[in-house]
């Protein structure tokens, strides 16, 4: 287990940061074995000591990471309680609330969460004042990376859980607007097209590590492929090349239809009659072959991205959302059908408004000791209990996702189950 911020070089190297960098902690390798046996009893005095030293140094943000805590968070919770007792005002991030199996990545994600504590107070406090200022008297929730909700006070404790909620909300919104629960979603904005996969109404999550600024993390993120195709993407080589550079937010000055010098995908869309925006006469002289070539190129880019994201060679419905959805003007190879729902430009807000409450369970079972179905049922029960504890309506909770990952090079058929349960918030 490691806790606190004492610049211990041993822990620094564990973080695998590109150039060392500041925080990390006092590591003593506490936690659990893969089969839930404790590696060693929690050294409560040592943790109290770290907390007291931190308090006297004016440090109040803590990251607690225990070995295999993703399987059982009890030891981390106990450490968090001890820290809170000995360091007044401590804000404690527990790794099992943030990341998954993979100590180093989970520890990095937890440390990142701890460093965001101040920012979270500013931002969430701002939301709360804004809502109160509007005279709205209702509980405040923030949407999470995985498409579920958390209460504002939880967001204060776990800010990293919100940082990738944007694409997730768009995909959830696409599900509602199109009425499709299983589909590929393309969200085309000004700079990029984000392509993701909806399974049972939720985005598929990234299976492995996610690098943030060169640091490996493993918190729950939607598995989204971003390509450089958006309304502001520059068009070059007579339409044969699009992006990856974009005029971004400066579209209204730089694009041709707004009197600028740069040929963008927005200009192509206007020239092709797909979109009415700005001054169409400014692009009337564009050669038809260039416009066709650019739309063909956009299709090729989308085809490639969709094929990388889909889970098998089977064609799936494709839902187009976002302000740049008109750029997908051609039939797409991966699409069993193409859907452009009404209000697609605000799919993101729609997604945030319909978010539900979730719970997750991750456990390793020895399939020599327990039947596979029984193991799965036990993991499902625990996930449901956690969803209900988080505020889901017990009558509405359902299993959204089950993952089964065998531990290789091990006899005994040890298998890791990861189950997610989701339900409407309790009224």
């Amino acid at each position: 287990m490691s806790a606190g911020d004492h610049g211990d070089p041993a822990a620094d190297r564990l973080a695998g940061r590109p150039d060392g960098g500041g925080a990390a902690g006092d590591g003593d390798g506490r936690g659990l074995e893969f089969d839930n046996r404790p590696i060693a009893a929690l050294d409560e005095d040592a943790i109290a000591d770290v907390a007291r030293r931190a308090a006297s140094d004016g440090i109040t943000a803590f990251a607690v990471t225990g070995v295999f805590a993703a399987l059982d968070g009890e030891m981390e919770r106990r450490a968090g309680t001890i820290i809170a007792e000995h360091c007044p005002g401590a804000r404690v991030s527990l790794s099992h609330e943030i990341g998954r199996v993979g100590l180093l990545e989970r520890e990095n994600a937890t440390a990142l969460n701890a460093t965001l504590a101040d920012l979270a107070e500013t931002v969430v406090g701002g939301f709360q004042r804004a809502v109160a200022g509007l005279g709205v008297d209702a509980p405040l929730y923030l949407s999470q990376n995985d498409g579920t909700l958390m209460a504002a006070d939880q967001a204060l404790a776990y800010p990293v859980r919100t940082i990738a909620s944007g694409p997730t909300n768009s995909m959830r919104g696409a599900a509602l607007l199109s009425g499709l629960a299983d589909a590929l979603v393309v969200d085309i904005g000004g700079t990029t097209a984000d392509v993701g996969l909806l399974i049972a109404g939720y985005p598929r999550e990234a299976a492995t590590t996610v690098e943030l600024g060169g640091v490996r993390t493993n918190f729950r993120m939607p598995d989204v492929l971003s390509i450089g195709l958006g309304g502001g993407s520059r068009v070059a080589d007579d339409g044969a090349r699009i992006g990856p550079d974009s005029v971004g937010g400066d579209l209204q000055r730089q694009a041709r239809v707004f009197g600028g010098e740069t040929l963008t995908m927005t200009d192509i869309a206007v020239a092709a009659g797909l979109l009415q925006l700005g001054d169409a006469t400014k692009v009337a002289e564009l050669p038809a072959a260039l416009v066709e070539a650019a739309l063909d190129r956009a299709r090729a880019m989308l085809d490639d991205a969709l094929d990388r994201v889909r889970p098998s060679s089977r064609a799936l419905p494709v839902v187009l959302v976002g302000g740049g959805a008109v750029l997908a003007a051609r039939p797409l190879a991966a699409a069993a059908s193409l859907h452009r729902p009404e209000h697609a430009a605000v799919a993101n807000a729609v997604g945030a408004a319909l978010a539900e409450v979730g719970g997750e369970c991750e456990r390793v079972f020895s399939l020599e000791q327990i039947d596979r179905e029984a193991a799965r049922a036990e993991a499902e029960r625990e996930a449901v209990a956690r969803a209900v504890a988080a505020g889901a309506d017990a009558g509405d909770v359902r299993i959204a996702d089950v993952e089964e990952l065998p531990l290789t090079y091990m006899p005994g058929n040890a298998t890791r189950f990861r189950v997610k349960a989701i339900g409407r918030p309790r009224a």
């Binding site: 190297r13 893969f34 993979g102 058929n413 890791r416």
Partner: protein, 363 residues
């Protein structure tokens, strides 16, 4: 004699992942702690097999257990060293050098860590020349060196010495101990002298891993095809034949777990045209590649699935529909292709019906 410094570790890890042929575990964490050890203790000497004294006491080192557990339960600082010291005490003789038992995957870098901690040289060679799933699948075993006495260490300073005559039995009992140790133990065994090591080891695999990593890295920077660069580099080594077996996209992955092994099949379709798909069968590592009825490569030759653009190796656990890949076949050196070697880790040892045919003899 050469030296290994912290700056060499990234290349060695990348090369070791290629030699892992789809298995062997990710050397990322091992690379991190090894780099730190080299920074703290200075460079480690890398001795070629010809430089090792005839009577030098060598022990070979690595990990046993589930790589997934290794991602969660990091080693204690002294754990790998404890195994070596326990074996040294049991042998009653000072250890002069350490050697990896496996060149592929996560076992490749830990010997460098141990060498840095103990101020010992590393011998440039190993007992697999790639990654294999079991301990008796070592050239050491094939050519008469016994696994035991073997020391296993956990992260609490507990050590166990095994004295088991048969290597396959030692693997079986050792794995049982490993589970009680939390599914990830550091081990030291296959004690031998320098003259024996010259006879039974796959030579120069540490420097090979480094050259493979460097070739890929340099090609990426220069903007040339890293697989071409790799094939050209291999031609000058004892892993002489590198063959681009196929480039395409993954169309189907089927896998199941059987007795601790990820067993399965992956089908790779061509990106364009109607060439028959390439099918690879794996058991943790890639075992055989076929195109229709045509055999393209078979164990112990190496079958490496690489990202088509960057040549980053993809482990069998991470294969997924839609990935663009290049499949590279690499010929194993002669010491891995003898009749005795093929009996231990050729096609039959994995339950395959095909006879071994050398990569370079297949068309």
């Amino acid at each position: 004699m050469r030296e290994i410094t912290a700056a060499d570790i990234d290349d060695i890890c990348l090369g070791a992942a290629v030699l892992g042929t789809g298995g062997g575990g990710d050397p990322y964490i091992g690379g991190l702690i090894t780099r730190a050890a080299l920074r703290d203790h200075g460079p480690v000497r890398l001795l070629s097999l010809s430089e090792v004294a005839d009577d030098a006491q060598i022990v070979t080192v690595g990990d046993m257990g589930a790589p997934t557990v290794g991602f969660e339960k990091l080693k204690a600082e002294n754990q790998p060293v404890d195994a070596v010291l326990a074996l040294q005490k049991h042998l009653g003789r000072k250890v002069d050098a350490v050697m990896p038992f496996e060149a592929g995957g996560s076992n490749s870098v830990m010997p460098i860590y141990i060498a840095a901690k103990l101020g010992l040289p590393v011998v440039d060679g190993d007992g697999m020349g790639r990654a294999f799933p079991e301990m008796q699948m070592l050239t050491f075993s094939v050519y008469g060196v016994r696994a035991c006495p073997m020391a296993l260490a956990d992260e609490h300073g507990n050590t166990v010495i095994l004295e088991v005559a048969d290597d396959k039995r030692a693997e079986f009992i050792g794995r049982g101990v490993t589970i009680r140790m939390g599914a990830r133990a550091s081990i030291a065994g296959y004690a031998m002298d320098g003259a024996t090591a010259r006879r039974v080891s796959v030579p120069a695999t540490m420097s090979l891993a480094q050259e493979i990593g460097a070739a890929i890295r340099t090609a990426r920077h220069a903007g040339v095809d890293p697989v071409d660069a790799l094939i050209e580099m291999l031609a000058g080594t004892h892993y002489q034949h590198g063959r681009r077996l196929f480039t395409g996209k993954i169309a189907d992955v089927a896998r199941e777990t059987r007795g601790g092994y990820a067993v399965g099949r992956v089908r790779i379709d061509p990106l364009t045209g109607d060439a028959p798909a390439l099918e690879i069968t794996f058991q943790n590592e890639n075992l055989v590649a076929r195109q229709g009825e045509r055999l393209r490569a078979i164990v112990p030759d190496l079958i490496c699935i690489l990202d088509a653009e960057l040549a980053t190796p993809i482990t069998t656990e991470r294969l997924r529909y839609g990935q663009r890949v290049t499949v590279l076949g690499i010929s194993a050196p002669p010491i891995m292709r003898s009749d005795a070697a093929l009996q231990a880790f050729g096609p039959a040892a994995f339950g395959l019906d095909d006879a071994f045919v050398a990569l370079e003899a297949l068309t």
